[in-house]
């Protein structure tokens, strides 16, 4: 347990509660990456060619679930990811803004990780969840394809909701999950003790370095303890454990409960950065629970616009987005709700379609991130600014000035006609 989680520094439990008394605005961010591409025709209202308001437009069928949330929505067309060579999937390159491919290790950290570092600290700075076929989720419950904390440092995503529940809510769990939580806690405590005892007589220079190893266990065990101390608070947010966890009928049962766990980790304040990989960054995936019999690679070979299968998948995604928004809206924060301080970035790890050059990379934003992003509109860009510039924009909105994200000036000269944030996106 703990894969996919980068553990933060020990903090007081108060930090966990997204408190309105905090001096720092508790912003949060969600990346939702659907695989196989995001065709612009499945999200841009019919006939809309230029940047304009969405107020009077009708959203296309695949994203119709967002119709009531139009005033929070910002559809962006015309970013590019040519340099990420997406083809089948840009893998780490989608969130990193660099070349990626199957089997290619991350060449730098990804935007979700970078944001998790600059947003106000939480107990668990970053959580990644991945949705796939049930076979893949059970045999490979953790996988790393999308997020990274640095070059060659992949971050694992969780796909087994039982494991994830245990990590987040083990302290308030019952039954089997409780037993596993206790056994695991016992092992981790003893590992910490053994690790500490073997560090006592090290040379001074090594003590500091080895100390970080021991400290790591203290963090893990400390996180568990701290989650334990705020059990009452967590109970309010923890989703109920039902048969979908242990006996899923379809993979979508696990997708749903994984989403619930992701949402709970946001609403309870455990984390403020959530990355969701629907299709886990690869070119397969299954949604049999939606009545889609075909699975995997063939889904990517289909044209998405007007395709009943893709309408179902996209609608399912959008219902998930709505669930995230509704949940965040239900939690008061400051003078408004959590959603007021949140940005949801919905896109694909593979630009606009499966076999793509990455020349167009459509994105939908939901929320205004504490009033920094424009909403209720469609923005058509000229295809000259890379995905990296969107990430630089978000970093700027999070308070970090950034000319180019993961792009040196030489590459930027070729792939970015602008510098810094995309002004069209910001208020």
């Amino acid at each position: 347990m703990g894969a996919g989680a980068a553990f933060g520094l020990p903090l007081f439990p108060e930090r966990l509660l997204a408190s309105s008394t905090s001096n720092t605005t508790p912003k949060r961010i969600v990346f939702f990456m659907q695989n196989q591409g995001f065709d612009p025709d499945t999200c841009i209202p019919e006939g809309m060619k230029r940047s304009s308001s969405l107020a009077t437009a009708k959203l296309p069928e695949p994203i119709s679930a967002l119709e009531p949330y139009k005033e929070r929505l910002h559809i962006i067309n015309g970013l590019h990811g040519l340099h990420t060579s997406p083809s089948h999937s840009a893998f780490f390159g989608a969130l990193g803004g660099y070349r990626g491919s199957d089997g290619v290790p991350p060449s730098a950290s990804t935007i979700d990780y970078e944001l998790s570092k600059v947003l106000p600290p939480t107990l668990l700075p970053h959580l990644c969840i991945g949705m796939d076929s049930i076979e893949n989720m059970t045999t490979k419950p953790t996988i790393a394809t999308l997020s990274a904390s640095g070059a060659g440092q992949p971050i694992f995503m969780h796909s087994n909701p039982n494991h994830l529940y245990q990590m987040l809510f083990g302290g308030i769990s019952t039954g089997d999950i409780r037993r596993q939580h206790e056994a695991r806690s016992n092992v981790l405590n003893q590992i910490e003790e053994l690790a500490a005892s073997k560090g006592r007589f090290l040379p001074t220079a090594d003590q500091q370095r080895y100390g970080q190893f021991v400290e790591g266990f203290k963090e893990v065990n400390g996180l568990r303890d701290r989650l334990g101390t705020v059990a009452d608070h967590l109970r309010k947010f923890a989703p109920p454990v039902d048969a979908r966890y242990t006996n899923p009928e379809f993979e979508t049962d696990w997708h749903d409960v994984l989403l619930e766990l992701g949402i709970s980790s946001l609403t309870s304040g455990i984390t403020n950065t959530l990355t969701i990989g629907s299709g886990r960054g690869e070119i397969f995936g299954a949604w049999k629970g939606l009545g889609i019999e075909q699975q995997g690679h063939n889904l990517g070979h289909m044209e998405q616009p007007g395709n009943p299968i893709w309408i179902k998948i996209r609608q399912y995604n959008c219902r998930m987005l709505v669930r995230i928004m509704e949940a965040l809206e239900s939690v008061p924060e400051g003078s408004g709700t959590m959603m007021d301080h949140t940005l949801i970035v919905y896109t694909s790890n593979n630009a606009d379609k499966q076999h793509t050059s990455g020349a167009n990379w459509p994105v939908m934003l939901l929320g205004n991130f504490d009033g920094t992003f424009k909403t209720g509109c469609f923005t058509q860009l000229d295809g000259k600014r890379p995905l990296n510039s969107l990430y630089a924009t978000i970093l700027q909105a999070a308070g970090v000035s950034c000319d180019y994200f993961n792009m040196d000036e030489k590459l930027a000269r070729k792939f970015d006609t602008g510098v810094g944030p995309i002004k069209e996106l910001l208020v």
Partner: protein, 827 residues
């Protein structure tokens, strides 16, 4: 240049003669003087004339620098680099004597270390990239009076595993690699490192040795098969990547290792059944056709595993197979797993500790879940992630040094060559108390070096670190710029070719090591290449515009002539068969001719290179290679192979500065100070100009002081384009391949060169170049930079190398039996 060398030599001699009378200096021992007043007088005598209050050189005033503190630390750091490298005072000025300079340098390090101790520390002098800051002539020449060396040793320490070591160690638990086959010595075998996959990612694969069928193509296989990426991080790409003090294991890594452990233990216990359905295990895939219906590509259920058990069956397997949980089974599983992960048997205390953890977990969760969780704890034992050299039991000698012994010594020797645990002979020697003396070490080292079946991946790792030829596949190329080089820019083909090229260069180095004669010279000047088919392109020549046009015209003419012939044949047929319908012409296979290049005609005997297990279906890397001869007068040695050239290039072009820096540091032993933060290190964006022309900006006085050490050494490689193809023109003009070796430290090789080949020929003849190679080997195997106290070790190693006719084995034996390797000092 020769004149300058002579003058320098005389200057050096004079300074030796003027060593402060009666004063002695021992490297590594604290300067007894009051550093502040010593430093102030040094600055006043040697620096302030130019770096004074008014109009100071380089806009740097040192007259009121003051004692080292956290505010002026950056300036002192720069002063340290300039004075240590003998860049300052300038050569035409009066020089401090040798001891004075060494004391000043040591003093700054001491002060910076102290001042920065709670601000991230000061580590410059410990960085392998600054190892050359120690004066080469003092290491290999005679020392001036007054310098007194003490017997050397290395610090007691723990050394974290590299990602490669860790993955290879874990791989031993779940995969059985083939035994060494003397008939096919290049094939990957037991004891070799787990190589990176088709995309350059280091991963641990589950069950690939049993997969006999899968549905779908390359990506479908890659998705369906279970694999885990390396968890431990490695932050360095260039140069020596792994000193003991570089890395630790952070909390995210530790928790991920616990997850990995769970997967591994389950596979050890149940094999493919831990990741597959029982019906998927059959030798007759047709018999389960009914279950493999429909599109299941990319799913784990699309794989068929053979019934033959190939993974190692260990006490973990016995434990999980047995009924119940008998103590002896539990302890056997704990002890065996402990040794597999730490390479030594547990102490009684360790065995008991883990037994308790496993028992408690079983009590809580039942046998299967509990044993898996409890045993996972061993994967996080200190010694499963760090290798200790702590000399906790030995007695110090009169210099405070303690010799490694028993397990620590045995594992140090093992680690010097291997990634897997000690073989039976070494293990027996350790246990029987025959791992305590220098002769013991020599016996084992000589034995292991002589036995090809004992794979020694760490030697190859040294050459990767030293040459940096393994980075080509990670250099992201601009698609258009890549296409202009003449190679294919389709999909991943270039990157795949580069990963293949790395494996090929690995193999070429192994072949040179097998002969073990004049190893460095051979590496620099071999005319051999281990090649794939793609290498006919990569070792080919990029045609000039005129040549390309001529090739296109010739092809067009040939096609026209062929059309005429075919028309004439048709006419003749119709004449001979009046009124009949002529047979339809056979569909011709479209020939894809790359007019941009003249392919090399590489041919030679079949050999093999070590590549990863199947990772990408039919698109996985293949081991088949040939041993060919490079095109004459176009290539010489591995610095002219695309693997090295592309590793030292960037997205758009060659990287002459990086190449020059490599030659300066790794062959000539020179040091380059860090780029000052005031420098905007960008070449102008002028697509109409060559790289050489764009590099004119480095010739400004401020830049040239450093760039003259690099640029003239890197520009001779302009005879190749940035995909590594030979070329005679650049931007439609004859390419300028000239360069110069300036102030190398070996006057015999200084001077202008016409191209890279002439430069390499000169370098390969230099004694200094050989000595610098020895210095790098020392750093790699000792895990630290050399100090003056290591001079005898370096000189002995060089002598061993020379006297043996350039034998790597002799060099290694010398280094591994040296005091620097055998002795540790506690701080």
């Amino acid at each position: 240049m020769i004149k300058v060398g002579v003058i320098l030599g005389i200057a050096l001699l004079c300074s030796f003669l003027s060593v402060a009378r009666g004063e002695s200096y021992t490297p590594g021992q604290k300067v007894l003087k009051d550093f502040d007043s010593f430093a102030q007088s040094f600055l006043a005598n040697h620096c302030v004339d130019c770096h004074g209050e008014s109009e100071p050189e380089g806009n740097l005033s040192l007259h009121d620098l003051g004692p080292v503190d956290e505010v002026n630390a950056a300036i002192w750091r720069s002063v340290w680099a300039q004075v240590t490298l003998k860049e300052m005072p300038p050569k035409e000025m009066d020089q401090p004597n040798v001891i004075e300079r060494l004391q000043f340098s040591d003093g700054i390090v001491g002060e910076l270390t102290h001042v920065m101790s709670d601000k991230g520390g000061f580590h410059d002098h410990l960085d392998p990239n600054k190892g050359n800051y120690v004066d080469h002539d003092l290491l290999f020449g005679s020392l001036p009076d007054g310098i007194k060396l003490i017997p050397t040793s290395s610090p007691a320490r723990i050394w974290r595993l590299t990602p490669q070591e860790h993955i290879t160690r874990l791989n031993e638990l779940i995969n059985t690699e083939p035994e060494y086959d003397p008939e096919k010595p290049g094939l990957r075998t037991h004891g070799d490192v787990v190589p990176t996959n088709h995309g350059g990612e280091l991963k641990l694969y589950f069950g690939t040795d049993r997969i006999i069928k899968w549905q779908g193509g390359t990506v479908a296989y890659a998705t369906a098969v279970k694999s885990l990426p390396a968890v431990l991080s490695s932050a360095r790409a260039h140069g020596l990547e792994n000193y003991p003090d570089f890395y630790t294991v952070n909390s995210a890594e530790a928790t991920q290792i616990l997850d990995v452990a769970d997967d591994i233990i389950r596979y050890m216990a149940y094999g493919p059944l831990s990741i597959a359905q029982p019906y998927q295990i059959t030798d007759d895939p047709n018999s389960i056709a009914d279950k493999m219906k429909g599109d299941i590509r990319g799913l784990p259920t699309s794989l068929v595993y053979s019934t033959k058990i190939v993974r190692p069956l260990t006490p973990v397997y016995d434990l999980m197979q047995a009924e119940g949980v008998g103590d002896h089974l539990l302890r056997a599983a704990v002890d065996d797993l402990f040794e597999a992960l730490t390479f030594r048997p547990p102490t009684n205390q360790e065995s008991d500790d883990y037994l308790v953890i496993v028992k408690q977990s079983i009590e809580k969760l039942g046998k299967e879940e509990g044993a898996t969780l409890g045993l996972s704890a061993i994967f996080l034992d200190r010694d499963a992630l760090f290798r200790p050299e702590l000399v906790e039991t030995g007695q110090p000698d009169s210099f405070g040094r303690i010799m490694l012994q028993d397990w620590e010594l045995g594992l140090a020797i093992n680690h010097a060559l291997r990634y897997i645990k000690p073989d039976e002979e070494l293990r027996a020697a350790i246990i029987e108390g025959r791992m305590r003396t220098r002769d013991d070490v020599k016996r084992e080292v000589v034995r292991m070096l002589a036995d090809d079946s004992i794979r020694k991946p760490r030697i190859l790792r040294f050459f990767r670190d030293y040459f940096d030829y393994d980075l080509g596949g990670y250099i992201c190329k601009d698609s258009k710029a890549l296409s202009e080089t003449g190679v294919s820019n389709r999909g991943q083909s270039h990157y795949n070719a580069m990963f293949d090229a790395t494996a090929s260069t690995d193999r070429l180095i192994e072949l040179i090591l097998r002969d073990d004669k004049d190893v460095l010279r051979q590496l620099l000047t071999t005319d051999k290449v281990v090649a794939t088919k793609d290498d006919n392109v990569y070792f080919g020549k990029r045609r000039s515009k005129a040549e390309t046009a001529a090739s296109v015209a010739a092809a067009k003419k040939a096609a026209e002539e062929m059309a005429l012939i075919e028309a004439a044949e048709l006419e003749a047929w119709l004449k001979a068969n009046p009124g009949k319908e002529p047979p339809k012409p056979q569909k011709k296979k479209q020939e894809t001719v790359n007019h941009n290049i003249t392919e090399a005609d590489l041919s030679g005997p079949d050999i093999y290179a070590r590549v990863s297990r199947r990772s990408f279906g039919n698109g996985s890397m293949k081991p088949e290679r040939i041993l060919a001869t490079v095109p004459e007068s176009q290539r010489l040695g591995i610095l002219t192979h695309p693997s090295w050239l592309v590793s030292h290039s960037d997205a758009m072009d060659n990287h002459a500065i990086l190449r020059g820096r490599w030659i300066r540091e790794r062959l000539l032993g020179g040091g380059i100070p860090d780029v000052p933060i005031t420098v905007d290190a960008m070449l102008p964006d002028e697509p109409q100009n060559t790289l050489r022309e764009r590099m004119r900006v480095t010739k400004e006085t401020y830049c040239w002081t450093c760039h003259q050490k690099m640029d003239p050494l890197g520009l001779p490689f302009e005879m190749f384009n940035h995909a590594g193809l030979y070329r005679e023109t650049e931007l439609d003009k004859p390419v300028d391949t000239t360069g110069e070796i300036i102030d190398s430290g070996d006057p015999a090789i200084d001077g202008a060169v016409a191209n890279a080949i002439e430069m390499i020929e000169k370098l390969a003849e230099s004694k200094r170049v050989e000595q610098v190679f020895i210095r790098h080997a020392f750093r790699f195997w000792m895990g630290r930079n050399e100090t003056l106290n290591d001079a005898p070790v370096l000189q002995n190693a060089y002598q061993a190398y020379k006297e043996s006719g350039g034998s790597m084995n002799a060099l290694l034996t010398s280094l591994l039996t040296s005091d620097a390797f055998l002795y540790r000092t506690k701080p």
